[in-house]
Amino acid sequence: MLSKSTPLKIVKKEKQADKTYLFRLEGSGKKKIKFDYKIGQFYQVSVPGIGEAPISVCSFSEDFLEFNIRGVGDVTDKLLELEVGDNIWIRGPYGTSYPLDKLKGNNIMIIGGGTGIAPLRGALKYLEMHRADFERVHIFFGCRSPEEVLFKKDMHHWDRIFDLNLTVDKAPANYKGKVGLVTKIVEESGLDNRNKVVLICGPPIMMKFVIKTLESMGFHYDQIFLSHERRMKCGVGMCGHCMISGIYVCKDGPVFRYDKILGMHE
């Protein structure tokens, strides 16, 4: 746990899509940092002079930390200007995680939309490392267009070792992959709810419709885990921004089992 903002060195920066880069960070001093984050947790990432933003971890390793950063605000725009060798300041990890170690023996469905795929990438790494502990792994990812598909290298790998279903919202006529919303490919899979757990991350509107689709396929709310996004300033349940119905998304979330947050009021 890094309770105070600590500089980490960028050791790799890889373009994923327009204004979207994957950063790999390691300890910047001589002393190696052992990371203890869990999948679905987030760090508060700082650019001195600009501000701080919560970013979900998108890797699973003790030796390094990866963030997938899309420039959508002051902090993330500035982060994209940083290069290998520069420092990024972080504190954390904070929040709850997808409880993969308690889900062993299940079939896992992973459903992600856009940058929401990032935190699930860590989950897939975990599943790969603990492959024998799980049954089948079905992935459903949706991106806006073929150019916006994140982690293209990983996608090929996941396609080989898991059941990968990828769709894009819009594509040119010559595009060979699937076109349509992620709810469509989930529905088309024809999967039932037997012995399954679903992990979701994506924009609120996408998650809402994915849950509706799963419901119509017979899934129960306690089979579904999802990650919520909110404005967060402190990350430790004080500043009040992320509160919904008395629940602090930063501390009690961001990952929730869906039946636990039913009926919450914005």
Partner: protein, 317 residues
Amino acid sequence: MGKVLEKKRLKEFLSSVSKGAELIAPVKSDTLRFEIIKDFDDICLEGRPLFPVKKFFSPARHDIFKLNLADKNKAFEEVKNKIKPRVIFGGRLCDFNGLLRLDKLFLAKEFQDEYYKEAREKTLLIGINCVPAPSKYCFCESMNLDKYYDLFFHDLGDKYYIEAGSPKGESLILKLEDYDFSIPAIKCKKHLEKKDLSGFYDSPAWKDGSKKCLNCGKCTAHCTTCLCFDVIDEVDADLKKGKRFKEWDSCQFTNFTQVAGGFVFRKDYVAKFKHRIYHKLQYFRERFGMDMCTGCGRCIESCPRLIDFTETVNKLK
């Protein structure tokens, strides 16, 4: 059994307990507010100050880091707090009960607010009883407040009856004369009905109650227990140095729930009003077993449209 102090000896008593410390008490200027006392005669105990004491524990704005933008490895330098020991005199039961509630969050087990912690440790709380109720807006009688203070004064005309609420307070009045008296409870004109709000979320009363709201945030700024804050970076003109500071924020502002890309989760005024009142009367209680409202009525008195949430809550059926 408490103690008694002649009013003419008040100055002497306060000078003695605040030796080497700042004395903070209500002062009448444009409005009645707590200030650091320079002249003892400025102290005004008539009425309940419009601003609570929370600013001495969680200031409206204070620096947490100095930023060194030129130094890649030492960009953040922690700002050391310079909090002097102090004595707050003339705080009301609602003020000190407000601190009891702020403690729950700022002094939580897992994470503590350093500034708040130090300020709490260095401050002696001397309260004064409200007889009669100092404002037509207050309703603390409905809020089951605790006897939370180091010392508590009750006006007996030419003298004060004093009760201790902590060992520290007790030690300060050891030498005063014993006096047998029982402090009467505060009587308020306004009343808040105690009810479980969970079934009333969709009541039309919320819309009625909040339709005049301007989203100005005065209610939260004046509240004894509202503590939401923002964290902001500011860069000096030379672009070499800057600071990161904490500043009060308000759930009544639209950008309070805005995330990257501009999406706002809690946009309409009814939802914001409900969030404020549900946090006060339900969410906080579920977590900490007490209401997050101390019945001071400041949110009503400070509101430019005099929005009174007690009327809304009392109407819910």
